[in-house]
């Protein structure tokens, strides 16, 4: 199975240095901002489509909390072709089921998805207002193959007369289109020139 080779894609904690790079990247783009910029940091930088904005977050509020720059940076646009291939979570492979009927029971999902391997974890979250199933489930399998066959066999099938969709929950990240944003020169700087040996 070719896709298994993606199992070693690393998911690491991001650190502040990376954030800074992203921020500089975004700041370098001219932003003529036709809509009032949110005082709170919007990640959609340099976008030129006019947008209907609403809320006090767009207001200048001197009594506001600390600047948020230190926490999340800007950047991250959807200029990509796909979101890459599935990745492994710490203890297994996570599958997302959507279109789950509000009356669905954990047992039924266990039965349906247990056919492809032992379900190690199942989250069937409830709507906080109604108390019924919110409409999705997250399922953990030990192996890639188990998750993959569940997706293959159950995606598009019916559960409680409801069409369900089954897909990976996590993936390796966007595969960028060619010649969109150029890479930050700062990144290149970190690579030291090849050393010549004598």
């Amino acid at each position: 199975m070719a896709a298994v080779t993606n199992a070693d894609v690393e998911v690491v904690d991001f650190d502040l240095d990376d954030d800074d790079l992203m921020d500089e990247d975004a700041a370098a783009e001219p932003s003529p901002a036709p809509a009032p910029a949110s005082r709170l940091r919007s990640a959609i930088a340099g976008d030129d489509a006019p947008r209907k904005t609403k809320g006090r977050g767009f207001r200048d509020d001197p009594n506001s909390s600390a600047p948020r720059e230190s926490r999340f940076g800007a950047g991250g646009r959807n200029d990509f072709d796909s979101l890459g291939s599935p990745i492994r979570s710490i203890e297994g492979w996570i599958v997302l089921v959507t279109g789950v009927d509000e009356e669905a029971q954990e047992d039924d999902l266990h039965n349906a998805f247990g056919e492809f391997g032992q379900v190690k974890n199942l989250h069937l979250n409830l709507d906080r207002r109604t108390g019924f199933v919110k409409g999705y489930a997250l399922i953990e399998y030990e192996n890639f193959e188990q998750a993959q066959s569940a997706i293959k066999e159950l995606d598009g099938t019916e559960l409680y007369n409801h069409k369900i969709n089954v897909d990976w929950a996590f993936c390796s990240g966007p595969v960028k289109r060619r010649n969109t944003r150029k890479r930050s020169p700062l990144r290149a700087r970190t690579r030291s020139p090849p050393r010549t040996r004598h």
Binding site: F14, A49, G55, G57, I87, H123
Partner: protein
């Protein structure tokens, strides 16, 4: 699968939620963000008992983004306005920022302890939608973070 907003795949989508306050244990907050490229970022900080900041990030699949959009869309939050909601105060602050299609909301309000606070506000209808949506989104994100990283997010 189209959820009123037309093509749910490539439309612009961004979501950020923040709840926090500054007090005895420093700046304690919880924040998560779904970026248009699928990156889910999560941060949780408390200095209580020398706890340190937890920061996690992972890319989620388009299906996860679609589900987040569905939850938001069905809540009708985009039709609300925070004009009559309680202002953020010393007890705390919540921020909800969403970009969907050509709509961009950035709402702020105080912390909401319970439905009593919602009922006694000037806009109980709108605030209730916010109150439940935030819980549903947190629930979704906590499950994702919990299953992927095997950490138990703590309520802030």
């Amino acid at each position: 699968m189209a959820t009123g907003g037309g093509d749910t795949g490539n439309d612009e989508f961004y979501l950020r939620y923040y709840v926090g306050h500054k007090g005895k244990f420093g700046h304690e907050f919880l924040e998560f963000e779904f970026r248009p490229d699928g990156k889910l970022r999560y941060a949780n900080n408390s200095n209580y008992k020398n706890d340190t900041m937890i920061r996690k990030e992972v890319f989620v699949s388009p299906s996860v983004l679609r589900e987040a959009r569905r939850i938001i869309h069905e809540s009708d939050i985009m039709k609300e306005d925070d004009g009559n909601w309680p202002e953020p105060d010393r007890i705390g602050r919540q921020e909800l920022e969403i970009v969907m299609g050509n709509e961009h909301i950035s709402f702020t309000t105080s912390k909401i302890g319970s439905l009593v606070d919602v009922q006694s506000s000037k806009d109980p209808e709108g605030l209730r939608i916010f109150y439940y949506l935030v819980q549903d989104l947190k629930c979704f994100v906590f499950s994702l973070i919990n299953l992927h990283f095997k950490i138990k997010p703590i309520q802030s």
